[in-house]
Point group: C2
Chain length 223, copies 2
């Protein structure tokens, strides 16, 4: 079966792609150049797509930095270092970004005749992001079934979120079991041009703690 896989270049989406390949999916990887702070993430996505043998990898341009409103798309908003309030939505939240990415994936999936979109959302570590929760994904899936010719004709496109309930250490455990090389991935919100991580932002902190909890050596290159 064909599947569109959202691939950011980070640890989570790389694991989701590896799981989809393990399940025998014909994978069409989709990345979005949306005006994020650095290009290292997209270079990582290219490496991962090639290493895991995707059928095709599309990097789509959509400049969300013209809207701003997030530390990831507006250079004047600093990426926080150190943990924030556990219940607050962090300033790294990009308004509607996951909805936009899933919508583009939905269009491509329908053209390809793909039955699934694989999406590396995680509700455990990033509990502050509304668009990483299972109830959001279910609502997107329902909307998508009404939006598309595929849905109307009884072939609704599923949104698969295999790691949404997993702690980081369990995600890493899955990747290690499949032989995934996490040194290819870049999670840091503010990696430098060589893809080296800051070690201080939320994404770095959660990733590092995940390797510790999984008792796996952290292959991340820090600067």
């Amino acid at each position: 079966m064909r599947a569109v896989v959202l691939l950011s270049g980070g640890l989570d989406s790389a694991t989701v792609l590896a799981l989809a390949r393990e399940q025998g999916r014909e994978c069409h990887a989709l990345s979005l150049r949306y005006g994020q702070r650095h290009a290292a993430e997209l270079r990582a996505a290219r490496r991962i797509a090639a290493a895991l043998g995707v059928t095709h990898h599309e990097i789509v341009d959509l400049d969300l930095s013209r809207f701003g409103g997030s530390a990831l798309t507006d250079a004047s908003i600093a990426v926080p270092e150190g943990p924030g309030h556990p219940d607050a939505i962090p300033v790294t939240y990009v308004p509607a970004r996951n909805t936009i990415m899933l919508a583009i994936a939905l269009g491509w999936a329908e053209v390809l005749g793909a039955g699934e979109i694989h999406f590396g959302a995680n509700a455990v570590d990033y509990s502050g992001y509304p668009d990483c929760r299972p109830e959001y994904v279910a609502a997107f899936e329902r909307m998508a079934s009404l939006a598309t010719k595929a849905g109307v004709e009884g072939r609704p496109i599923r949104v698969c979120t295999p790691i949404i309930e997993l702690p980081k250490a369990a995600i890493i455990g899955e990747g290690i079991r499949m032989g995934l090389d996490y040194s290819m991935t870049v999670s840091c919100y503010q990696a430098d041009d060589e893809g080296r991580a800051c070690g201080r932002c939320d994404a770095c902190r959660i990733r590092r703690e995940g390797f510790v909890a999984a008792a796996v050596e952290d292959p991340t290159r820090y600067r």
Copy 2:
């Protein structure tokens, strides 16, 4: 109140913008350069935005022609001339296009603090398009309330579709009542570079019949 208004340059979205202005909304118009067959539509959107006094008009680039799958985004698929089967989804359906446009509008609305997205979907004339139906719009709105910080914090962004149940003649009647100059608008799927309509595609046929039924002189420039 601030509103994001989806503005294609056609008759329907121009009427929706005029209605939003009449209701006193501070309008932020959003158009998408998605790889449609002609640029006349976007030039029309610019004229309409200026004439109706929007606060801001953004034309966002997102190339859906790389995916194809529609007569509007793939030059190798002809635009049908003459009526198709009334129950079939026409080849001018662009997979997930409305979902993608609404998703981008949702992101912009959240950054702007806008409470509404105004969307010129119509379920009467284009009954074949799944993403023009009220049940689709309701499902999008529900998904959006779960997707966004605004929704989670109790300020969900509404999707307003004031013409969704109106026949074309009634839409035109509303526009005429407000003094809207429809000669600015371009509905044709295959307008030429000067914005002149073919007079034969579905969009032209429905528009022309609307002017006849409204007993309003058709200001469309045909080639």
